[in-house]
């Protein structure tokens, strides 16, 4: 199957420090892939390069047949807003806005009419088991509730790829499981592929397969180091 997203031989350094040294990975449409690895292995840098946030120093990033690494900043930004979704560990919601404002935001930025954007955003609250919290400011939500709002905001545009970087890193076990169940369930329902960066095996076990980043290279598990 043609991958929806592919990184081939990607290198990326920060100053003299190499973070990626020829990383290669393919993600099939709708596939959920967990990227495991110790701190500093390069797994978050890989996610940022695949998502078009960092341009790679060399190598290619191909999304749905388009070379992401050759796009202008503006084109990459637009693509990220419309075709990619993001869930990070924390700090991604706008605290001055309400929960529903946050979920509607990507649609409004993409030019969707206000009424339609809010209707679509509102439809996510029961799915995320957040009924009644639409008008709460995100600073008034619990960590788990805020993370579910982040999942809604990431998926409201029906992205082709959802990027999740340590999505349960700041949550307790039970809340983390709930967020993972909802995020994986919703991503599958929307047909979104997912790149799930985590250092937790229990989180990775939600994926269809796992890869390991070691010293800036991607290796499948179980075939030796």
């Amino acid at each position: 199957m043609t991958p929806i997203l592919a990184a081939h031989e990607v290198t990326k350094s920060f100053g003299a420090t190499p973070a990626l040294r020829g990383a290669t990975i393919d993600i099939a449409p709708g596939e959920i892939v967990a990227v495991l690895g110790p701190s500093g292995s390069g797994k978050s840098t890989l996610l940022h390069c695949m998502a078009g946030i960092f341009p790679p120093d060399s190598g290619t990033i191909t999304f749905d047949g388009t070379r992401l690494d050759q796009l202008t900043d503006a084109a990459r930004t637009k693509l990220r807003r419309t075709l990619f979704g993001f869930v990070f560990q924390f700090g991604q919601l706008v605290p001055e806005l309400t929960a529903i404002d946050n979920i509607a935001l990507p649609l409004l930025l993409d030019g969707v009419a206000r009424r339609s954007a809010y209707a679509r955003a509102g439809a996510w609250f029961p799915r995320l088991e957040l009924d009644g919290l639409e008008r709460r400011r995100t600073g008034e939500l619990s960590g788990g509730q805020a993370q579910r709002v982040a999942v809604g905001r990431a998926l409201v545009t029906t992205p082709k790829v959802l990027f999740a970087d340590e999505p349960t890193g700041s949550l307790d076990s039970l809340t983390g499981e709930k967020v993972m169940d909802l995020m994986v369930g919703m991503a599958r329902a929307e047909g979104s592929a997912m790149v799930l960066v985590t250092h937790e095996a229990r989180v990775a076990a939600h994926a269809d397969r796992e890869v390991m980043v070691r010293d800036g290279l991607v290796t499948p598990l179980g075939v030796g180091v």
Partner: protein, 197 residues
């Protein structure tokens, strides 16, 4: 019986908690013999030093019974026995069949069981002693663990709650194994320096 807060540990878990190393003795002796031929007493001393810590040492009965079976099965041979001396003066050497048995055991991931760190520890030590790729074995174990964890994750999602909680029990234990695997993989060089003769 070990009891904590009314929670009864299984026998296997009790032995782990008590610090008794659960070691497959025949393959462990093969692993200790592979780097160089050795006497029974030397093998016991090395075994106790590496794997008997906190638990009971290998008894002479277990040692010589196992060596005799390994010899019978062609996995080791007597090399340089001194006539008239006791059994501990026999010098044993691993055979090609013994190396094959050891190799097969080391490379085969263990069934992910919530309490198998002790066996993994033995494999890692023996791999380092014989200059085998310990990191590869840990990685294969990681893959076997994740396969099982994926099955348990599907089980916990399917419910009902009683099954979910049972799956969680397995998941949390296997996750602890995974943390141990990660931290051990990161310290292999250090461990090699400590144990390699």
């Amino acid at each position: 019986m070990t009891r904590t807060s009314g929670y009864s540990l299984g026998l296997h878990a009790q032995r782990i908690v008590a610090g008794v190393t659960i070691t497959p003795i025949p393959t462990t002796l093969l692993g200790l013999l592979e780097p160089a031929p050795s006497h029974g007493y030397e093998l016991k001393r090395e075994y106790d030093q590496l794997f008997g810590s906190g638990g009971k040492p290998l008894s002479f009965g277990q040692l010589y019974g196992t060596l005799s079976r390994l010899e019978r099965d062609g996995h080791i041979a007597v090399h340089g026995a001194e006539p008239g001396d006791g059994p501990d003066r026999k010098r044993y050497v691993i055979t090609a069949n013994g190396v094959a048995r050891l190799e097969a055991w080391l490379t085969q991931p263990e069934k992910p069981d919530p309490t198998l760190q002790a066996v993994l520890f033995v494999k890692v030590v023996l791999a380092l002693l014989s200059d085998r790729p310990a990191a590869d074995y840990l990685d294969r174990q990681r893959a076997a663990h994740l396969d099982r964890m994926r099955e348990l994750t599907a089980m916990r999602k399917a419910g009902p709650l009683s099954r979910t909680l049972l799956a969680d029990f397995g998941l949390y234990h296997l996750e602890a194994d995974m943390r141990w695997i990660d931290i051990t993989a990161a310290r292999l060089d250090q461990l090699r320096k400590e144990i390699v003769r």
